[in-house]
Assembly symmetry: C2
Homo-oligomer: 350 residues x 2
């Protein structure tokens, strides 16, 4: 089903305000959730909204989010997210990075004790708007084993990096350190489908194509020891160094059994310290065009830049409406009723 961007954002904003969120906070969180769905990243979109509502009802998340600066030291900052909304802590952290990178050329901000921050490219792209290269990483609840292991110790710890390009959407990479998201395995289990070889191991550490066995086991890191190493370092920085939870101790946002303890790292590098921003953007555009025009493999009709598919999805969603599962729309409308809001989401008719 398709819904329009504006009413969706307005309803989520209103609902977040009824949950205690400040106005700016509510608009930000709605924006992050809706933009994920608009970009086609439905695993990180409005399906998280009912989880926020459930967590708030269980008094396991603090709304409004009251962050605290623990370290504010030259180019480095540490923000305690106070178990509030992850989007608020992460966006504040990137704002701090941008303003400090203006002063020092580069800045790193760590966030601790927060919750799921949504899709990472959102924050990396905040830096891009200010002429900077943006980086964002976060840890997550354990679902992946070390290489050679059979026990979940790391999340699918993702990493995003973005840069601006003249006359085009920014180039933005947003990738997890696992081959496939657990959400895709859950979906295969629901649909009674097999999963591809190479996605997951069963609880004994054997390869499996059975989603039920995979859900009892672990997801596989990209490129074996490489993805394991990436996930570990993301956890060492976002979790351990920030003073947040790490390894086995993180809890999933999907079950309200306690604070998730998520940590994040944000970084901005000021392009203008190295070359004029316009020159970088023109050269990056020429590079992007060279990639797009380069020789294609047999059967391939188009080469995409990182983030290009998502940017196109976003445009299409803006004009033709946002694809949302009927189930999600129903849940949001149900929460509207519970909160006594006289509005509800309507399907977009073309």
């Amino acid at each position: 089903m398709k819904v329009a961007e504006k009413p969706l954002k307005e309803i989520l904003t209103s609902l977040l305000i009824t949950m205690g969120a400040a106005d700016k906070e509510a608009r930000l969180v709605a924006d992050v959730l809706v933009q994920a769905d608009m970009r086609g990243i439905h695993t990180h979109g409005c399906s998280f909204f009912p989880l926020i509502a459930e967590r708030k009802a269980a008094a396991m998340i603090n709304i409004p989010t009251r962050t605290q600066r623990i370290v504010d030291d030259e180019a480095v900052t540490l923000i305690d997210g106070n178990n509030g909304l992850g989007q608020v802590a992460a966006a504040e952290a990137m704002e701090v990075c941008i303003s400090k990178a203006e002063k020092f050329g580069v800045a790193v901000t760590l966030v601790r004790n927060t919750n799921h921050i949504g899709f990472l490219a959102y924050y990396a792209l905040m830096a891009v708007k200010k002429g900077m290269i943006g980086v964002c990483m976060t840890n997550a609840a354990p679902s992946m084993a070390p290489w050679g292991g059979a026990e979940p110790l790391f999340g699918t710890n993702p990493l995003s990096i973005a840069a601006s390009v003249s006359d085009r959407s920014p180039i933005v990479l947003d990738m997890s350190s696992s081959v496939a998201a657990r959400g895709k395995i859950r979906r295969a289990a629901r649909l009674n489908e097999k999963i591809p070889q190479g996605w997951a191991l069963d609880s004994k550490g054997n390869p499996t194509t059975d989603p039920a066995e995979a859900l009892k086991g672990t997801v596989l890191p990209i490129a074996g020891p490489k993805g394991y190493g990436l996930a570990l370092f993301i956890d060492l920085i976002c979790g351990l160094l920030s003073g947040s939870k790490y390894g086995r101790d993180l809890l999933s946002f999907h079950q309200p059994i306690g604070p998730t303890g998520v940590g994040a790292m944000l970084m901005a590098i000021d392009i203008s310290r190295f070359m004029p921003r316009e020159r970088f953007e023109i050269l990056a555009c020429e590079y992007a065009e060279a990639i797009i025009r380069s020789k294609k493999a047999m059967g391939v009709s188009r080469i995409y830049l990182p983030g290009e598919i998502e940017a196109e999805n976003e445009k299409i969603s803006g004009t033709q409406g946002i694809d949302l599962d009927a189930q999600i729309i129903e849940k949001i409308n149900q929460i509207c009723k519970e909160k006594g809001l006289s509005v509800h989401l309507e399907e977009l008719r073309s």
Copy 2:
């Protein structure tokens, strides 16, 4: 064949001095090359020494290396490597990062117009010795296509990150953004062996297990679009932003047809801004032990930390000698003769 560490380093140092290197410079380059072989990373070891000699003879590398600071601005620095030895520029860049991170908490240094810097963990580990998290990236001559492409546009652009752990060797990731090194494909071609599916594409962009076809084609990025994205961003930062070569323009160090135009990025984050270094190292050690002791997959006898195998190799090489191809030893001895040095490498007898 095995050779001892001390005479190998001394001979390479003496040879580099005859090529015009300053004393400190010669010792550094010898150290980086020999340490790679000691750690078992033979693709980045003394096999590069004859290439340096050849490049120097062709007057295509500037020795001694005279770097220049182009930008020296708060926490960011840009160093021009002046087409000298890559090891010298990269080590200087990491020294600058360490001293600036002491002041600002984090620092980034870009290097342009340099040559192959050797194995990246060397520089990341320099930061670790000073209580910091070290990061190093570099671009390389094109051998990898964008995802969906069939034309080499990116190198196997590698990334290293390292952190210290109490009572253990540092944890250090050193990975390329390609599935396999081109060197491994060259070796299979020499031995008339097939290469595994998933390593490379032929010149039309079709999967191949024939190393000869693969060498005419491209190596595959790790995890498809993810490795492509990583390689592209490493190139955008190390190559384009630094003002170095990028994309198609880089030349290989293996053929002396012109300056390679390699760029690099080095970064250090001062742990002590976030928590006492000792506490980080103790917690990281506990985390490392938890990983090692975690449940193993069927048939796996041991779980390794990133860099653990290399650290063990280094210890063994130090006591039992360094494995070097007879061919490399012969070439080094031949260069000794040409340079009129009265020493030569001898095989270590046990």
